[in-house]
Structures are given as structure tokens and as C-alpha cells.
């Protein structure tokens, strides 16, 4: 008949929708490819965002059913929360922000599965495989939601960062929760329609998410966020199969695959296996050992002043800066850049040594230093940096702890034994800027601080670095 109905029927045809979805995930893949280089990364992210917009528009065009008000309400709520959160978060709080965004994604997944269960009255007249994928999404989404929220709480320091666990029974409890959740899922898949069982399954998965992340200590946290990111991706892919939606399948699976790679890379960087990390308790025994170590070493720490540190740095010919989470917390990256400029004016060769898991996420330090305009060629990765420490006059450790702990190489009983470290102790002298003698996030004492060639400069990283820069200017 007239043009508008024709046009609208074309817009709503399945093949047109599928074409839009195919364009959308081609854009996702192209966007991720762009993320592989610093100069193309911004565009890559925007390409992926365009793909996402397209996928959302395609989906909205294709739906006939009502409830537009609910859609507007949901999107408005999400935008009202998400945009200010993303705009205002400080660069240093990025890891917990990613954890939180990951968590809500997992939350959406399990809520969607729950709706599917309710709308089909307990998966009645539903193909078994759809039921299975929907249940899988519900369990994994719920684990990811709760796990990410705990990770957020720990990084935000709402919850103590130290490992909190049930001790040796932890793994049995985790296993039991997993078995209960799977048993409930099997029960539902084989014909139980009771919503009580479904809710029970969600609760078991929720407890499991808590139980997995609570015992995990600081250094392992980046690995866990990455793993939960992969989990949410996989659960989104499962939702895609349950809803027969190719865009969801592709996007979810790509995230699942990339998250798995990243998780593995990080675990390898720390010389730890992923199962060992999930089994938890990192630093649980170590905290006790650390406390004993502290008693043993007490009194041999040498502290220094900003003026002395400035003199030491000014007369060095080669300085390596080792940044860590302390620099992030204190927002000290700009102050560090100023110090570097001041040293370079005096002809001191300055470089940065970046441990793969320094801070709370891989690449965390690179992001902060890039913010402060530190040139890329001054940033050395671990292998490169370790070859240089032997001919370095002063290593300036700014708020890094566990990644410099020589116990990882020398003490087989240390919980971080075997983790590759920055061999700061190989340099001629070391200055450590640290707020106090408290052990790091992993709760392990650092032997480096008791080394006779190490001097401790206690204080907030930003003010300590600024004081050194000021003292340098006066020399």
C-alpha cells in the first residue's frame, strides 16, 4: 500500500536486523583491533561504541511489543548513573570503576535470565539447550555481579583489602556452593518449575561470588577483575544463545576470549596459576609470616629526608623510578614528571621501570604516567628494566611494594616466591617513598626496606616528591 508501512516492514525484517547486527560486530572487532596501538586506540574505542549504538538501534527498530516507557525509564536511569560516574571518577580509581561496570553487566545478565524463567513459567515449552544456556548465564552472571561488587568494595577500601577467608574450609565451602547451584540448575532443566529453586540457585551463585573474591588479597585483584570480566562476557554469550541473538553471542564471546587471555597473561606475570588464585588465601599465611619478619628486622630501617634524597639523586648519573599504587593513590604522577624534568636539567638519565602488575591493574602505571605526559620511550617493561638495575645509581621506589620484594627470589617460604619482580635491590642505592612501614596490599613484609643500601622517605608520595623537586631546585 502506502510507503510508510512498507518501509517499516523492511526495517523490521529479520534479515535487515541481522545485517545491522553483522555490521555492529564487525565494528566491535575493528574497534578492538584499534585498541592494539596507542595512536589508534581512541578511534578503536569509538568505533566499538558506534557498533554498540547501532546494535541498540537495530534492536529497538525490530521490536513490535510495547513497554516503551520501561525502556526509556531503564535507559534514562542507567545514563543518569553511568555518565556522571564515568566522567567524575579519578584516574586512580579506574580499577574499581571497571570492577563496578563489570558487576552491573553481570547483574543485567542474571536479571534477564530470571525474567526468562518467569516469562516462560519455569522454561515450559522451551528447548532444553535454551534452558541450559539461560541457567548458565544466570549462575555466571550472579557470580560476576557479586564478585565484582566485592572487588569494588575492596579496592575502594570499603571492605578491608586483606584476604578474609574461612581458612582451610574455604575451598570445600566454595565447591559445595557450586555443586548446590549446579544441582538446582539441573533440577530446573529436568522439569522443575518452582521459582524457589531458581532463587535458591541465584543465592548459591551470589554466595559463591562473595566466597571467591573475599579471600583474595591485593596483588591478585587485577587477575580477578579480569577473570570476572571474562565471566560476564561468557554469560552474555550464553544469554545470546538463549535469545537467539547473534550480536550478543559474538560480542559476549569476544570479551570472554579476550578476558581469558588477559587473565592468563597476568597470572603468568605473577608466576601463579589461575586455580591457585581462585582457591584463594593469597597472603593469608603470608601475613603471619610477615608479622614475624617485622619483629626480626625491627630497628634496621634507615630513614632519610627530602633534602638528602635530592642530593643523592642530583649526583647520580642514572636514576630509575619505580612507581606503584602509592603513586596512584597520592595522584603523584604530575609531581613525578616535574621531578624527572628537574633531574634531566641536571643531566641525570631518568627512566621508569614498570612491573606488569604494578598498581591494581595491568597498565595502570602507564595510564597515569601518560596522563602526566611522560614520553613512552622512558617507560621500560620488567625484563628491560631488570637488565639496567645493575648500572643504576639510584632507584626511586614511589609507592611500589610487593613488586620490588626480593623475597620473591630468595625466600621459598614467602607467599610471593617465584613471582617475577623488579630487581631494585641490584642497584647501587635505593630510596623508597612510602606512607608508613605497613605491609602492602598483599600483607607481606618487604625485605628491601631492611637492606643497608635502602633509605626510606616516609610521607605521601605527592608531597614527598614535590619536596625533593623543591630541594633539587635549591641545590
Amino acid at each position: 500500500m502506502s510507503a510508510p508501512p512498507l518501509a517499516s516492514s523492511f526495517l523490521q525484517s529479520q534479515s535487515f536486523l541481522d545485517v545491522l547486527y553483522i555490521i555492529a560486530f564487525a565494528l566491535f572487532i575493528q574497534g578492538l583491533r584499534g585498541l592494539s596501538g596507542p595512536t589508534t586506540a581512541v578511534r578503536g574505542n569509538r568505533i566499538a561504541a558506534v557498533g554498540m549504538t547501532l546494535a541498540v538501534i537495530a534492536t529497538l527498530l525490530n521490536r513490535n511489543e510495547g513497554n516503551w516507557g520501561l525502556i526509556v525509564l531503564g535507559i534514562a536511569l542507567g545514563t543518569a548513573v553511568g555518565v556522571p560516574a564515568a566522567r567524575q571518577v579519578k584516574m586512580t580509581a579506574m580499577p574499581q570503576m571497571v570492577a563496578l561496570f563489570n558487576g552491573v553487566g553481570g547483574g543485567a545478565v542474571f536479571l534477564i535470565s530470571w525474567s526468562e524463567f518467569r516469562l516462560t513459567h519455569g522454561y515450559q515449552d522451551t528447548a532444553t539447550y535454551i534452558t541450559i544456556f539461560s541457567l548458565f548465564a544466570a549462575i555466571v552472571g550472579s557470580v560476576s555481579f557479586w564478585g565484582s561488587n566485592i572487588a569494588f568494595g575492596k579496592l575502594q577500601e570499603i571492605i578491608p583489602g586483606r584476604p578474609i577467608s574461612l581458612g582451610s574450609g574455604q575451598q570445600i565451602v566454595n565447591l559445595l556452593l557450586l555443586i548446590l547451584a549446579v544441582a538446582a540448575a539441573v533440577d530446573i532443566a529436568s522439569g522443575a518449575h518452582s521459582q524457589g529453586i531458581f532463587i535458591g540457585m541465584l543465592i548459591c551463585a551470589a554466595l559463591l561470588g562473595n566466597a571467591v573474591v573475599f579471600p583474595i588479597g591485593g596483588a591478585d585483584m587485577p587477575v580477578v577483575i579480569s577473570m570476572l570480566n571474562a565471566f560476564t562476557g561468557l554469560s552474555a554469550a550464553a544469554t545470546g544463545i538463549a535469545l537467539n541473538n547473534p550480536a550478543l553471542i559474538v560480542a559476549g564471546m569476544i570479551v570472554g576470549a579476550s578476558g581469558s587471555i588477559l587473565t592468563n597473561l597476568m597470572a603468568v606475570a605473577m608466576n601463579r596459576s589461575i586455580p591457585a588464585i581462585i582457591a584463594g588465601g593469597f597472603g593469608g599465611g603470608g601475613a603471619v609470616e610477615g608479622a614475624e619478619g617485622a619483629g626480626e628486622h625491627a630497628g634496621t630501617v634507615k630513614s632519610t629526608s627530602a633534602q638528602d634524597a635530592a642530593i643523592q639523586l642530583a649526583y647520580a648519573s642514572r636514576v630509575v623510578i619505580v612507581p606503584g599504587y602509592g603513586m596512584a593513590v597520592a595522584q603523584a604522577q604530575h609531581a613525578v614528571r616535574e621531578l624527572t624534568k628537574e633531574l634531566e636539567k641536571r643531566g641525570v638519565e631518568v627512566s621508569y621501570a614498570i612491573h606488569p602488575v604494578a598498581g591494581r591493574m595491568p597498565g595502570h602505571m602507564n595510564v597515569l604516567l601518560a596522563e602526566a605526559d611522560v614520553p613512552y620511550d622512558q617507560l621500560n617493561e620488567m625484563e628491560e628494566a631488570n637488565q639496567e638495575f645493575g648500572r643504576t645509581d639510584v632507584s626511586l621506589v614511589i609507592g611500589a611494594n610487593d613488586v620490588t620484594n626480593p623475597a620473591a627470589k630468595t625466600n621459598p617460604s614467602s607467599p610471593i616466591y617465584g613471582m617475577p619482580i623488579l630487581e631494585v635491590n641490584e642497584s647501587h642505592s635505593v630510596i623508597v617513598i612510602k606512607r608508613s612501614m605497613n605491609p602492602g596490599f598483599a600483607g607481606i613484609e618487604n625485605e628491601l626496606y631492611y637492606d643497608p643500601k635502602t633509605a626510606m622517605l616516609f610521607g605521601d608520595a605527592k608531597s614527598a616528591v614535590s619536596e625533593i623537586t623543591a630541594a633539587l631546585a635549591e641545590l
Binding site: A49, V56, L73, G74, G107, I261
Partner: protein, 110 residues
């Protein structure tokens, strides 16, 4: 209607997407791991589509409507927040005057 069936096609898509994920991501340098995690994090916000699709079937149940609105809101936070945060992070890697030579060197490294 709500839950259609084309299992083998979808499984094929799933497996291929997994391989693409591995291949594409394996090339990302350490430096960009945080933005990458954040970027992929935004992409799995695509579950938003699931909420958009089934909200039409939620009928009259108030509870169904509530959980689906929350799901859509969660999905939106994931997508919008994720892309914005990634964009902010990546802006810092963009070329700035006087830094171009340093960046060129970095890119040539394997």
C-alpha cells in the same frame, strides 16, 4: 517466538567469535591492558539488548517490569559508563605536541 532455536548455527558463531577474540586481543601491548579491559568491559554491556528484547513480553507483572527495568539500567550503565571511561583513559595516549617522536619509537617495538 521468545526463545527461538538454531543451536548449531549459534554454536558455530560462538566458536568462531572465540577464535577472533583470541587473535585480535593477543596483539595488544601491556601498556594498553587497562583500557583494553575497560573497553571489552563496555562491549559486554551488549546484554542490554537482551533486556530490550524481552521487556516487551513482560506482561502485566509488576515484578517482571521492575527486574527488567533494573536489567536495562544496569546494561546501560555498563555500556555508557564503560565506553566513556575507556575514552577518558585513552585520551591520555593521544599525541600531544612535542611527544610525537617518542611515540613513534614505541610503536616500532614488537
Amino acid at each position: 517466538m521468545l526463545l527461538a532455536s538454531t543451536l548449531t548455527t549459534n554454536l558455530a558463531i560462538l566458536v568462531l567469535a572465540g577464535f577472533i577474540g583470541f587473535v585480535v586481543i593477543s596483539k595488544v601491548p601491556n601498556t594498553l591492558h587497562t583500557p583494553l579491559m575497560s573497553g571489552t568491559n563496555a562491549i559486554h554491556g551488549i546484554v542490554l539488548l537482551g533486556g530490550l528484547l524481552i521487556v516487551g513480553f513482560s506482561g502485566n507483572g509488576t515484578f517482571n517490569k521492575i527486574i527488567l527495568v533494573i536489567a536495562i539500567a544496569f546494561g546501560t550503565i555498563n555500556v555508557v559508563g564503560g565506553f566513556l571511561v575507556t575514552d577518558r583513559m585513552l585520551e591520555m595516549f593521544k599525541s600531544k605536541p612535542g611527544r610525537d617522536s617518542g611515540k613513534g619509537d614505541q610503536e616500532k617495538k614488537p
